[in-house]
């Protein structure tokens, strides 16, 4: 009996990787999914923090896809290793801070390591030629295969017919004739294929799979790098950039203002790492201060904190300041008015 061949599919949670996996499963190959968590993935997080989003809890799309396909999913934490990809992308960034080509190379390389360690035979991705400006061009397809070290163990079922035959095709593990030749940005072929497989209710992420393609998020990350004088980050930084209103009144500090209770609860968890401010004479949001403020800066931070609470129209507001070591201070301040906060303080 022929040996049962095994493939690992990179599952992002979108339709393409789902169709790629399904195409190969239809050929009798054992498929398992792999999903890499870089810290920037759009899944979860913000909806978990913000109360307003809780009414419509979102599913984790990668898990959902795996369940629809009836395959296992291995979710791998690559937060630490991903730093090097994001901070020093050999092939540069896309429109924002998205290092898509290096990211693809990195993920396929990780998948290659996984394949070797787990006795699998090849890797599949949902890439489509010409679909994304940076990472899915005809010219970049061989770069991903080569620089990831996956070479011809990397099969892209949705556009395989436009590419040279890979090892699984040459060896006859999969029938090349039953693979596809999709190109370009139109989603019609994928939608037709989804219908044929009876797949509906799939997710269609607009730009890409992570926060790095988001203009505002990238601007906040860039601001963080500028403020700390080096391109580096901790996982907590990545999380905090997704939460609250970020206001930078000066190079040496910024404020993160909770926009609602859920965010306030989340920020509470950081009170032992950051200075925090909360109005005591009126209701208002919890504010974290990131940086090293002078006494005057603290005064300004307190006036901004007052501005976002119910005392915004009051003459004076008492603001409690708590330091990471537990020390406390109270300031009585006049709330800033809306016009006192220049637009370019908002990140």
């Amino acid at each position: 009996m022929a040996q049962q061949r095994k493939a690992v599919a990179l599952i992002s949670g979108g339709l393409d990787s789902m169709l790629a996996a399904k195409t190969i499963m239809e050929q009798g190959i054992h498929v398992e999914g792999i999903n890499f968590f870089t810290g920037f993935c759009v899944e979860g997080h913000t909806h978990a923090i913000r109360d307003k989003d809780k009414a419509k809890p979102k599913r984790n799309n990668a898990l959902w896809v795996a369940e629809q396909l009836g395959i296992k999913l291995h979710i791998i934490d690559v937060i630490e290793e991903y730093k090097n990809v994001l901070i020093n992308p050999k092939h540069g960034y896309g429109a924002h801070l998205n290092p898509c080509l290096d990211c693809k190379i990195f993920m396929v390389n990780k998948a290659k390591q996984w394949v070797v360690e787990n006795g699998f035979d090849f890797i599949i991705t949902g890439e489509v030629m010409g679909q994304r400006p940076m990472s899915q061009r005809r010219s970049t397809m061989p770069i991903v295969a080569k620089q990831s070290g996956a070479d011809d163990l990397l099969l892209r079922p949705l556009c395989a017919k436009n590419l040279p035959a890979t090892l699984p095709e040459r060896e006859g593990w999969v029938d090349r004739e039953k693979l596809h030749d999709i190109t370009g940005r139109s989603r019609k072929p994928q939608m037709a294929m989804a219908e044929q497989f009876g797949i509906d209710d799939y997710s269609q992420p607009a730009g890409g799979c992570c926060f790095l393609v988001d203009k505002n998020y990238s601007a906040k990350l860039l601001d963080l790098w500028q403020a700390q004088g080096k391109r580096d980050y901790e996982f907590d930084d990545v999380m905090l950039l997704k939460v609250g209103r970020h206001i930078r009144p000066a190079a040496n500090f910024k404020l993160i203002v909770a926009r609602e209770e859920g965010e306030g609860r989340f920020l509470q968890g950081y009170k032992n790492q950051f200075i925090s401010l909360l109005a005591s004479s009126h209701n208002g949001p919890l504010v974290l201060l990131d940086g090293e403020p002078s006494a005057e800066d603290l005064f300004l931070a307190a006036s901004i904190t007052a501005r976002f609470g119910q005392g915004r129209e009051a003459d004076w507001v008492d603001v409690g300041i708590t330091f990471p070591d537990g020390a406390e201070r109270n300031l009585t301040v006049k709330p800033l008015s809306k016009d006192d906060i220049p637009k370019d303080w908002y990140l």
């Binding site: 979860g44 997080h45 599913r59 984790n60 990668a62 898990l63 959902w64 979710i75 934490d77 609860r265």
Partner: protein, 75 residues
């Protein structure tokens, strides 16, 4: 039966799922694992992960902004 406990409080999805997955890798079939979380997303994600991975969710319960899941490790 003894149950192991995984504290995944303050972690946001999918980190609690990843921690659960990594913890279960070191456990034996039939053992029990209680996962303690603060992200409500786990109430969907951990059971979904258990379904596709062959583990059984025996019980879920909630506290004050806390969520608990009891899992029996599959074979």
């Amino acid at each position: 039966m003894n149950r192991e406990v995984l504290n995944a409080r303050r972690l946001l999805c999918p980190m609690p799922v990843i921690r659960t997955q990594d913890k279960i890798k070191q456990m034996q079939p039939e053992q029990l694992l209680e996962v303690q979380c603060t992200d409500p997303g786990v109430m969907q994600d951990i059971p979904a992960w258990c379904r596709i991975s062959g583990h059984q969710v025996l019980e879920t319960w909630r506290g004050d902004h806390e969520y608990f899941i009891l899992i029996k490790v599959g074979g």
